[in-house]
């Protein structure tokens, strides 16, 4: 059974169409990422699934519930880490985690949750004394203290230093290993790549690509790019004819789009060896997730 099912979802604010008809499903136990630039409609989509917002059109089912109805039984089974939410500044970490745990039928142990997010040494600290990253980890603690079946993470590691972020990733992975379903939004490609079983790229309120991080946007079958520097004294015209017309010169580098990189490399390196030349900066690359993302979201490299 799907944990989340979304069909033809739309959300309009007056004239603005924040979500312009999207469909996706998230299986139980899956980690699904919505990847997209700011303003793409990620948060609107997630907040509809969490029950914060009413949809303008479409079908939504989360754990068999219609989130719009906001039933208590529904909220008991989900955990929410909002992109930004306040917290009472004068409560201690332990007090607030315990309080929130008491709202759920089968909460996790507060102390254990606090340790898990790496706030063990801040247990008795008032929340106002926490750094931004520590508050974000407290957000995560409050999201999981109810032991939810489904966890929503809206840009969970924005503003983290690399080690805190690595730690959060490990926590998310451990939750997934426990069979929890996770819906993640992020604008970090490496985050989607590391955590998600499947990724949907969302731009201007539409899903423009969907798949595993490896196959997204046809990356696995896309043309490879061979690049190198021409040896001194050689021009484009000197290169072997088998390389075809996919050749392009970019300043001192030559770029070759190739559907058969093994054959083309053989021809190319054979040619260089015959000339007694070394091909400097020789590289073979496939489009990165970043390339796919930038192409699909219509952004250009800076």
């Amino acid at each position: 059974m799907a944990a989340i099912r979304v069909e033809g979802l739309r959300k309009t604010y007056g004239e603005v169409e924040a979500v312009a008809g999207i469909d996706f499903e998230v299986a139980e136990g899956e980690c699904f990422a919505l990847l997209g630039p700011n303003g793409a409609g990620k948060t609107t989509t997630v907040e509809i699934l969490e029950g914060y917002r009413r949809r303008s059109a479409g079908e939504v089912e989360v754990l068999g519930f219609d989130p719009e109805r906001g039933e208590r039984a529904f909220r008991e089974r989900i955990g929410i880490v909002l992109q930004s939410a306040g917290i009472d500044r004068e409560l201690s970490v332990h007090e607030i985690v315990t309080l929130f745990g008491s709202y759920y039928p089968h909460p996790r142990d507060a102390a254990e949750v606090i340790d898990l997010v790496g706030l063990g040494d801040k247990r008795t600290a008032r929340t106002r004394t926490l750094s931004g990253g520590q508050q974000r980890r407290l957000d995560l603690a409050l999201g999981i203290v109810g032991d939810p079946d489904l966890l929503f993470l809206d840009e969970p590691t924005t503003g983290f230093d690399p080690s805190a972020r690595r730690r959060s990733w490990e926590l998310v992975e451990s939750l997934r290993d426990l069979g929890k379903t996770i819906l993640l939004t992020t604008h970090y490609m490496d985050e989607a790549q590391n955590l998600a079983d499947r990724v949907a790229i969302i731009a201007a309120g539409r899903i423009v690509a969907e798949g595993s991080p490896e196959t997204l946007g046809g990356r696995d079958v896309a043309e490879a790019e061979i690049s190198f520097r021409l040896p001194p004294g050689a021009g484009l015209a000197d290169l072997p004819r088998e390389l075809g017309d996919g050749l392009r010169q970019d300043e001192d580098r030559v770029l070759l789009r190739s559907v058969a990189p093994t054959r083309d490399l053989y021809a190319l390196t054979g040619w260089a060896v015959a000339r007694g030349a070394e091909l400097e900066a020789l590289a073979v690359t496939r489009p990165s997730l970043e390339d796919v993302y930038l192409r699909l979201t219509g952004a250009s490299r800076g």
Binding site: R75, I80, G86, I87, D88
Partner: protein, 272 residues
């Protein structure tokens, strides 16, 4: 899935949580507890023993103590809730609660009961100080009326505070709106001095709002020249009507999320 957590313990926990926040915030504690007490000590010391020309010639301290009791209740319930709820909403604290299984009613009830609790604490402290320092007499035959009046007033001003929180655009406006609606009315409402001999318009203006009805009803329960059990049904009815109207507004207009979010994206919450 299992049962929901039981309502009683959840409510108790919410009240304790709000109480903790109240005590840890020096401003709320100051305005609700210290401020009215300061007035009582100041005015009581200055002329607590003088006899008023009105209300049967009651001693000033005997009039002032219940008046400041009403002031403390209104500060705690009306100003406290209007500012507290609007701030919590602005900070996104309400939004976070909205995402938990805690029923809305229990969250709001926790805030109301906490405010009522500190109203009662303030009342007990002030009456104790009045009795101890200014020879204020508790009129035992009217004590039930005093308690009922106090609780009804607290309920009414909690509802008004919640209604104001729901209507104002943002938390920064809350203290301004709450004080500018309360303080001018306070001076024509017999909280600090009787307006029995004031110009007619003062009586008219004061009579419209619930503050004066609350003050008069409470003051009568401390007036030895008043006979009977001290229930002022007319005043209590006005308080109840204001409270009920405010409750309707508060329920219909309650907002979980900041009214105007900072940022480019429109995030208006549809009223449901």
């Amino acid at each position: 899935m299992g049962e929901h957590p039981a309502t009683g313990p959840l409510l108790l926990r919410q009240v304790r949580y709000q109480n903790k926040l109240f005590l840890r915030n020096p401003f709320s504690a100051f305005f609700a507890l210290a401020f009215p007490m300061m007035f009582l000590l100041l005015f009581g010391s200055l002329n607590g023993n003088e006899r008023l020309a009105v209300r049967g010639g009651i001693r000033f301290a005997q009039f002032l103590t219940p008046g400041l009791l009403a002031f403390a209740v209104i500060s705690t319930c009306y100003t406290g809730l209007a500012v507290g709820v609007a701030m919590s909403r602005d900070l996104g604290i309400l939004k976070r609660f909205r995402g938990t299984p805690l029923p809305t009613g229990l969250y709001v009830a926790g805030r109301i009961l906490s405010a009522v609790w500190f109203s009662l604490v303030s009342a007990v402290l002030m009456v104790a100080v009045g009795v101890g320092l200014f020879d204020v007499r508790i009129i035992w035959r009217m004590l039930p009326a005093a308690v009922v009046t106090l609780l009804l007033g607290a309920a009414c001003f909690c509802a008004l505070g919640l209604a104001v929180a729901a209507l104002i655009p943002n938390g920064e406006a809350a203290p301004v709106v709450a004080n500018f609606t309360f303080l001018p009315v306070a001076f024509v409402s017999d909280l600090f001095f009787p307006t029995d001999n004031a110009p007619a318009w003062v009586a008219v203006v004061g009579g419209v709002f619930p503050v004066k009805h609350f003050a008069l009803a409470l003051e009568d329960t401390f007036n030895p020249f008043v006979s009977g059990s001290g229930f002022r049904w007319g005043h209590l009815a006005v308080i109840a009507v204001w409270g009920a109207a405010a409750a309707v507004v508060a329920v219909q207009r309650f907002q979980w999320e900041p009214r105007a979010t900072v940022g480019a994206r429109p995030r208006r919450q549809p009223t449901s």
